[in-house]
Symmetry: C2
Subunit: 233 residues, 2 copies
């Protein structure tokens, strides 16, 4: 397991010895598509690192609508919030997971890091604390961006921005990528974008008719970057 832990960026500076200590209170677990890692309000055991596959973190509204807060990909962490929120008072407070989490890849593997020993571990390791803080800060920025998208933009703009960002993320070294495969179902994507499958489907169709993109199953191919950028604003 230490080999896996080493690949997690926040742990990259740990010594072999520290990694083994970390591994000693961690646990490797595998899931299939649709398996649930934890439910909202369930007692908190610790945080997770996805090492393979993918999971979604989401909430339900009272009437059963689902909204995906984020999708977590390999070597990223999730559910660290309760850990730090209660850092000082870990033995007194009963604390719980703040959302639901389910595997959305049929071959998903995660590491569960138990909360209590980890808190002791981090208390003597300021550099690690600062790295984890960077992770939290990044998450905060992503969530603030997500909120901004949902609060300020209509569905067309959200979808256009999503495609634009996805392509940008894949493009490296001045090599623009112009197509990608959706790693999740369109239903989940709709939920992540704060809409419903019907509306997302219509939006994709409209974008095709307008010559912005081409959609074939789960592949999205960019046809006209200028039009895409116009659709974003």
């Amino acid at each position: 397991m230490t080999e896996l832990l080493k690949q997690v960026s926040i742990f990259s500076s740990l010594s072999e010895e520290e990694l083994e200590k970390l591994a000693s209170f961690s646990k490797l677990i595998s899931y299939k598509y649709g398996d649930t890692l934890f439910f909202d309000s369930e007692p908190y055991a610790g945080f997770y690192i996805v090492v393979k596959g993918m999971v979604k973190v989401y909430k339900y509204s009272k009437d059963g609508k689902e909204h995906i807060l984020h999708i977590v990909t390999p070597f990223n962490t999730l559910a660290e919030v309760p850990l730090f929120e209660n850092a000082g008072k870990i033995f007194e407070s009963d604390f719980r997971y703040p959302a639901n989490c389910t595997a959305i890849d049929n071959d998903t593997t995660v590491i569960l890091v138990r909360a209590r020993p980890f808190i002791s571990f981090i208390e003597n390791n300021a550099p690690l604390a600062i790295k984890m803080m960077a992770g939290l800060a990044k998450r905060l920025r992503l969530m603030s961006h997500h909120l901004e998208e949902i609060a300020l933009k209509d569905v067309n703009k959200r979808v256009a921005s999503f495609i634009h960002e996805a392509l940008k993320k894949l493009s490296k070294d001045n090599k623009p990528v112009k197509s990608f495969v959706l790693p999740i179902t369109k239903t989940d994507l709709a939920s992540y974008l704060g809409t419903i499958p019907e509306t997302l489907s219509r939006t994709f169709r409209k974008f095709q008719e307008d010559g912005i993109i081409e959609v074939e199953d789960n592949t999205i191919r960019l046809k006209n970057i200028t039009k895409l950028e116009q659709a974003m604003e």
Copy 2:
């Protein structure tokens, strides 16, 4: 200034000496209503602590719509995210404020804590790092709650929840509070709730007609808790 710093919960464990060190690279600044502390994308100088008054942190959409991300009240911090996000690489990266921030009280005082010296300061102080992490984690939870509200609830439910939470926050020791004064303009509240003043005004009126609350200027008085709770779900 150390007297003020001492009242900030994350600094509560610092020694007199440490507080003075902190004060040495901090700066007390006063603002009037409408004064802007910083703009989105402006170069990052450091984070702020509100010690008096109130500020709003907000984003603009392309067509000028404003959405308030959060309202910051005395002895809370803001704009710490860039600090940690770049913690390791503070000297290389040009980093910037991620949103706009404006005073919304005519007598607002803040402390600006400069980023670079603070990073060095925290690097040798794991307990402080962990406390700041708790602050970030709490912010993350609040933002996730905010996102949930906006993504999953209609305006009626958002307004009802807002009133319910405001009353709950003020109620202590089994002493239910049944009225409160809005600390911000209704226009700002509308922006925070992801709607517009017209819609908020109509919602308040409907709630009055339904006998849920009474609104007089900026005072909201609860008339029927059961109906309020029904309106929330």
